[in-house]
């Protein structure tokens, strides 16, 4: 493999504490090496440019059945909205892009790793087929556990060891990455058209409450010592007044400490926090409660969060929170898809228009930005749009611009129809903070990589790590006065090196290096009871045979296994 030297860039690598030093980055055989170790490298001149590790997305819906429903049932998301073909394959769709467009666009933004936020286990072969067709970026996918009948039954009886054995089995069966929890208990209740809005609402029949599910899964996660923590989508998403439920959910992590060999320091990742930080009791008097939420997060370092920033676009919402999507449709009367998955989960999909003319949307916009701007630790606060729920991931550059520039925020706020009421209901107008490039690097690569437990491979530029390097045509010593320039630069990186291969140049994809599927293989002691339970449920309650459920090896594409051994 060839050698590369990325010369003279301003390097931002929070994992090593490098804050814009002018440095050379060496690349050899797909790995970062000391610049001096290269014999005869090709050179990338990064003088006057910003150099970061490849981006890492901790939470994005990019592959799998509900994403595909979003694509299928929205032909209007393609009509007059798709760019013309520039790479090997066509790139269709705006809010829910095709797999090809997903891979190409992430690469153009300088991203290399995207964690699919919710994989229904029964559909794992579908997820892996889409991963195969998503070019360039490495993918992991988290199976959902929060409404899984096995999990509910084990945790009801406080059988952490059994739940751990089942979890290990399911991660292997689906080639999954970690424990995702979506509206714990609520999506099972949705099987009867019901919901669990609060963490102490009992789950019908199963005689367990969301609080016990979350705590049980944290214990399971730390019992196994997985790379990532429990990844939680709280109960009562998207409703005015829900911040108290969110605080209740956050408190569930109290008393737990991380136990793992991957450098992860949190026991709970709370995702798309923006949707969970509302006061008031209706959309008429909704207000931001970001301060209460972020005060709590700032004071508890065993929690990480991501934003779920609203981008003010027409988009497509999709979540395993089935009852929420039903509820959302009742508000906007648009088409509604729903898929309840036997013994495991549910999902709903509804188009949604966030508009600067609607107060609810502009308040949500403010809440999202407040989360990052009120954070005292951006290594624990990550940039997401909960793609495509609050907006498509292709708007990350715009979100970065809002975070880096008060002027950019002001310009957007000028377009708000209910500006005064938005300012009244939120704190956004009182915040002057502007984030720097180091903090953006924390939020978009170093932090997420650390929280995912993969910071020995991704998210940094230390020798030995994957040679994933993004170079942006941005001079930190003379930042552009026009915020629109920042957006442009982060949308189309000057260079992306992925696995040591020059993949993007001047914002265009020039190569498609092989992408990987990252999964976690946990070795646990044999557990006869769990094996018997699995056998029984498949015999009686699943509609597929046990032997056809686990992903066949031939359907796993270019795997990268992270091994965890609990038997030692």
């Amino acid at each position: 493999m060839s050698e590369l030297l990325i010369k003279n860039g301003f390097v931002f690598d929070p994992l090593q504490g490098i804050k814009g030093d002018r440095m050379d980055i060496g690349v050899k055989d797909g790995r970062i090496v000391e610049a001096g170790a290269l014999a005869n490298p090709k050179t990338i001149d990064a003088a006057g440019m910003t150099v970061m590790a490849g981006g890492v997305d901790i939470h994005s819906h990019v592959v799998g059945p509900k994403v595909n429903v979003g694509r299928l049932f929205r032909p209007e998301d393609k009509l007059f909205k798709s760019p013309l073909k520039r790479c090997n394959r066509m790139e269709m769709g705006f809010s829910v892009p095709s797999t090809f467009k997903t891979g190409y666009d992430y690469a153009r933004m300088g991203y290399v790793f995207v964690n699919e936020a919710a994989m229904p286990p029964l559909h794992s072969p579908h997820v892996h087929e889409e991963i195969r067709d998503t070019p360039i970026i490495d993918n992991a996918a988290m199976p959902v556990f929060g409404n899984n009948w096995f999990t509910l039954e084990y945790l009801k009886n406080n059988e952490i060891e059994n739940n751990a054995a089942y979890t290990a089995w399911l991660l292997r069966a689906t080639r999954g990455f970690g424990i995702k929890v979506v509206n714990p208990g609520g999506s099972e209740a949705w099987g009867w058209g019901l919901n669990c809005e609060h963490i102490h609402d009992p789950v019908p029949y199963f005689d367990i409450a969301p609080a016990e599910i979350v705590k049980g899964l944290i214990e399971t996660n730390e019992y196994l010592g997985l790379p990532h923590s429990v990844h939680l989508h709280c109960n009562n998403l998207g409703n005015p007044g829900n911040y108290t439920d969110t605080l209740d959910s956050l408190r569930l992590a109290e008393g737990y400490a991380p136990k793992n060999e991957f450098g992860r320091e949190q026991v709970m990742h709370v995702t798309h926090l923006q949707f969970h930080a509302y006061g008031g009791d209706s959309w008429k008097n909704v207000e931001s409660r970001t301060k209460e939420i972020m005060d709590y997060v700032n004071a508890h370092d065993n929690i990480t969060v991501d934003m779920g920033q609203v981008t003010l676009d027409e988009t497509t919402t999709m979540t395993a929170d089935g009852p929420f999507e039903h509820h959302l449709r009742a508000g906007n009367n648009l088409k509604w898809a729903n898929v309840d998955v036997e013994l495991e989960t549910a999902a709903g999909v509804v188009p949604y228009v966030y508009s600067p003319k609607i107060k609810a949307s502009t308040v949500q916009w403010a809440v999202g930005l407040e989360i990052a701007l009120m954070s005292k630790d951006l290594m624990r606060t990550f940039l997401t749009t909960d793609h495509p729920n609050a907006g498509p991931f292709t708007r990350y550059p715009r979100v970065i611009t809002w975070l880096m520039s008060r002027a950019a925020r002001d310009a957007t706020m000028k377009t708000f129809k209910w500006l005064d009421r938005t300012i009244e209901s939120t704190s956004i107008d009182g915040i002057d903070r502007e984030l720097g490039l180091y903090e953006i690097a924390q939020m978009t690569r170093a932090g997420p990589a650390k929280a995912l437990g993969v910071s020995n491979i991704y998210g940094g530029l230390a020798p030995g790590m994957d040679a994933d390097v993004a170079v942006y045509a941005l001079d930190p010593e003379s930042m552009p006065s026009d915020p629109a320039e920042i957006e442009k630069v982060f949308g189309r990186c000057a260079w992306l090196v992925k696995d040591g291969v020059v993949t993007v140049r001047d914002g265009e994809v020039v190569a498609e290096p092989a992408k990987r599927t990252v999964w976690v293989d946990v070795k646990v002691p044999e557990n006869a009871q769990v094996q018997r339970d699995i056998y029984e449920h498949f015999l009686r309650h699943y509609s597929v045979k046990l032997d056809n459920y686990s992903l066949f090896e031939e359907h796993l594409h270019n795997p990268r296994v992270i091994e965890v051994d609990t038997t030692q």
């Binding site: 394959r89 066509m90 095709s98 559909h123 009867w192 009742a330 998955v341 036997e342 056809n548 031939e554």
Partner: protein, 458 residues
């Protein structure tokens, strides 16, 4: 010793039974026994090794006969047809795995073709309804474990999906439905008193072509409005009674079939069924599901949606962007209007299924059939390329009618030399790339491929 292969998926209908046990002779060449399958599924396996199979591509000759040619020659011919046509149509995929569909899409995109699947003449109208109104659905195991009310509307699974009722809907004992059939109310709505209607607790004989009016009446009643004395041939009292059952269900599923998507109004019948399902979710839990026909006809809708955002009727002729509008870019409409100038029939039988005028138009142009077997399409083609039978000789992922992916196995090897759909399309793609490169290098590729056109009257 004969070998038993277990957990085999059935390549017949959208029920995708994956519990078949197939016994193969000890030389691995003959299928001896198939357990658990319905009569039709059984037949598909036995047919694979029961008689003579086509082992080489066959090219039409001047005297009208077929001559065997090599796969390389067939690939070259196919690639040239695609390359030279202004608007080729690639259609079918009722009986292919997803890997083959993905490879075919690559070919269609490279060739600038229209890419369509059998849903176009089947549940395509369901897609139109889903585009307009969504799809509140579930996996079949949900119905089995929870449903206490089942509606079959314009569907006759007793004949078309033989094990549907026993595996998923009426008879099985699930987690919350331990009493099986006894715990469920079955409603069948159909103009014909079908064999499925025989097992119904309530049967409504809707007037042919007036399902939409009946749905409208149900919706009005559910919202508490008055309706006329008789709607679509059904008395008001009966409509009220059924509406009450629907509202009081704990969990219900509406399974609908061709009766809705192929009578007047097509997509609108499905669309209003979706509206009713949605309305009922304000009271209790209801889901709806299309009774998809072939075992993997759900597959191309899934694969092409993630690749292009459209499940069928993809017009890729503009090369840089995909366009879809059934009614224009749908295979039968294109053929009826004489809009295409080459035809690929893949794993289906357009010769038997398309209207005669459509077939006549298509026959004016090169016609290539890709299919393991002899069918009407293969017999009127200019080129017939045999491939292995998915689910018997070729493994792969297929999507069940509820969009659940099922991993199919292979139980025997294909006849010696016969390749898979996926390999065939990968090779055509490679040849297309070569032709493009040649053309870029030295101008137009020689127009007419070797071989002679078949008689144009089918």
């Amino acid at each position: 010793m004969p070998k038993k292969v277990e957990n085999v998926g059935c390549p017949y209908c959208g029920v995708c039974c994956d519990d078949l046990v197939v016994t193969v002779s000890d030389d691995g060449k003959k299928i001896l026994e198939v357990e658990n399958a319905c009569a039709i599924g059984n037949q598909i396996f036995h047919h694979a090794t029961g008689g003579e199979r086509i082992r080489l591509p066959r090219l039409r000759q001047p005297d009208g006969s077929y001559k065997e040619i090599s796969y390389d020659e067939a690939v070259d011919y196919a690639a040239k047809v695609l390359h030279n046509a202004k608007k080729p149509l690639i259609y079918g995929f009722g009986s292919t795995n997803c890997e083959g569909m993905a490879a075919a899409a690559k070919v269609a995109e490279k060739a600038g073709a229209v890419l369509d699947n059998c849903a176009s003449i089947c549940h395509g109208s369901s897609f139109l309804a889903i585009f307009d109104n969504g799809y509140p659905s579930c996996t079949l195991g949900e119905t089995k474990n929870r449903a206490d009310v089942i509606v079959y509307w314009g569907a006759n699974p007793a004949h078309a999906h033989p094990r549907h009722m026993s595996r998923y809907s009426i008879f099985p004992r699930g987690f919350f439905t331990g009493k099986g059939h006894k715990s469920r109310k079955i409603i069948v709505i159909d103009p014909r008193h079908t064999d499925t209607a025989q097992v119904a607790d309530i049967y409504l004989q809707v007037k042919q072509g007036h399902d939409y009016e009946l749905f409208d009446a149900f919706r009005a009643v559910v919202r508490g409005h008055e309706i006329p004395d008789v709607v679509a041939g059904i008395k008001r009292e009966q409509i009220l009674e059924v509406a009450n059952i629907l509202k009081k269900a704990r969990f219900g599923t509406i399974f609908y079939g061709m009766g809705l998507c192929h009578s007047d109004g097509r997509n609108h019948n499905v669309d209003i069924a979706i509206s009713l399902t949605r309305d009922l979710n304000d009271f209790t839990k209801w889901t709806i599901m299309a009774m998809r026909g072939h075992y993997n006809i759900t597959g191309p809708g899934a694969v092409w949606s993630w690749q292009y955002g459209y499940p069928y009727c993809l017009d890729l002729t503009k090369r840089d962007i995909a366009h879809m509008n059934p009614g224009e870019t749908s295979s039968v409409d294109l053929a009826m209007r004489d809009e295409v100038d080459a035809f690929f029939n893949v794993g289906t039988d357009a010769g038997a299924h398309f209207p005669i005028d459509a077939v006549k138009h298509l026959k004016k142009h090169p016609w290539i059939t890709v299919d393991p077997n002899i069918c009407m399409a293969s017999e009127i083609s200019d080129l017939h390329i045999p491939v292995g039978i998915v689910g018997v000789e070729v493994p792969g992922i297929v999507y069940r009618m509820d969009n659940v992916p099922i991993q199919y196995r292979k139980v025997i090897d294909p006849p010696e030399g016969v390749i898979s759909d996926e390999e065939l399309f990968e090779r055509i793609h490679k040849r297309l790339c070569e032709l493009e490169a040649e053309e870029a290098a030295k101008g137009q590729v020689k127009a007419a491929p070797e071989g002679v056109r078949a008689e144009s009257e089918p």
